[in-house]
């Protein structure tokens, strides 16, 4: 089986993640979709590392994971604070920042 399939899979997962971000209104689900997109790109990294026979790909996937972790932590903290003040976790409710 050629390794390209993995790339197609990661592209597909990435698109689904993007669609999720655009369509779902619950902040946490949006956040999960972003995680999905990140994982999709990690898969692509690992596949390329294998294709090129160079470990850097994996290393980069590793760094992406760390960054994703930080992002999740801060993101969820924000969602919690918004939930506390607004009693709703929907993304559309926090829309004061406009002219």
């Amino acid at each position: 089986m050629s390794l390209d399939n993995y790339l197609y899979l990661s592209a597909l997962l990435f698109t689904i993640g993007a669609a999720g971000v655009l369509i779902r209104r619950n902040a946490i689900v949006v956040f999960m979709c972003i995680e999905l997109m990140l994982n999709a790109s990690n898969l692509a990294f690992v596949t390329f590392s294998r294709m090129h026979g160079n470990i850097d790909g994996q290393l980069f996937a590793f760094f992406t994971m760390v960054v994703a972790a930080c992002e999740v932590v801060v993101g969820l903290a924000i969602i919690v604070t918004i939930y506390r003040s607004r009693r709703s976790a929907s993304v559309d409710d926090a829309r004061l920042l406009k002219l």
Binding site: L22, S49, G53
Partner: protein, 266 residues
């Protein structure tokens, strides 16, 4: 993806089998995340996708990453999501109809467009050299090779990433921390509050069967004026309708009014 492409410089066939089983599951799970109403279900589906990915990492000669994916990512990060979901309310579900005009169609079209373009680009891209595979690099083990590269070339990146992690943690605490506006209630105040509350009996609830012949759990205690106190029996039993009638166990009256008591006894 024509068949001929699969034939040349291919991996062993079992990997193909693994791929063609697991990939559809993962895609379905991902699609499920979009469609499912409850947030918890989409969290679990995401966990499925992540575990699938871990397996693929291992299949791609990256066992360390696979394990990290499972242990760190799926284990910790997904659990964090579930924890937040619990905080926010598990049953918070989105209503189906869309609030922003044209958002849903635009979203789907946009992402499908991007996906289609990515895939079409990928299909036309080619490496110019056949796959090398990581056997040589992983000769003394995947973790050792990663460590060797991590702590030589990317040591600065590693330090910066750790700094980032710490700041993120700190940030989360600062964000989630709530200033205590009112002083913490000491035990004395809690007791006084409980006395002031009329709804909860200060002396505590009478145990079942008090002033009655039997202390079984389904027999309500009798209040001094003889009426049964339903606070003394657990709501669940009452809900199940297995409440016994206290009249049967009323003490026989020494004279006249014991007659009507007798009647209820048998």
């Amino acid at each position: 993806m024509n068949i001929a492409a699969i034939v040349n410089n291919q991996t062993q066939s079992p990997e193909a089998v693994l791929f063609f089983i697991l990939a559809p599951i993962m895609v379905l799970a991902a699609l499920g995340m979009l469609v499912v109403k409850k947030a918890v279900h989409s969290a679990l589906l995401l966990a499925v996708v992540m575990v699938g990915l871990a397996i693929f990492y291992i299949a791609n000669e990256a066992p360390f990453l696979g394990i990290v994916q499972v242990v760190v990512y799926t284990g910790a990060v997904m659990m964090l999501f579930l924890f937040i979901l619990m905080l926010v309310g598990v049953d918070s579900s989105d209503s189906i109809e869309e609030t922003i005009k044209g958002q849903r169609i635009g979203g789907v079209l946009g992402s499908v467009g991007v996906g289609f373009l990515l895939i079409s680009l990928l299909s036309r891209a080619e490496l110019g050299q056949d796959y090398v595979g990581l056997d040589l690099i992983n000769s003394e083990g995947n973790v050792q090779s990663i460590a060797k590269v991590l702590f030589t070339r990317y040591v600065w990146a590693f330090e910066v990433i750790s700094a980032l992690l710490i700041t993120a943690a700190l940030g989360a605490m600062v964000l989630a921390h709530r200033e205590r506006i009112l002083p913490r209630k000491s035990q004395r105040e809690l007791a006084a509050e409980r006395v002031r509350q009329t709804s909860i009996p200060v002396a505590g609830l009478p145990g079942p069967g008090t002033y009655a012949q039997h202390n079984a759990v389904d027999i309500p205690a009798l209040l001094p004026d003889g009426s049964p106190s339903d606070a003394s029996v657990s709501k669940v039993i009452a809900a199940r309708g297995e409440l016994a009638n206290p009249a049967n166990f009323r003490m026989k009256e020494s004279n006249g009014n014991s007659a009507n008591g007798e009647a209820g006894e048998e």
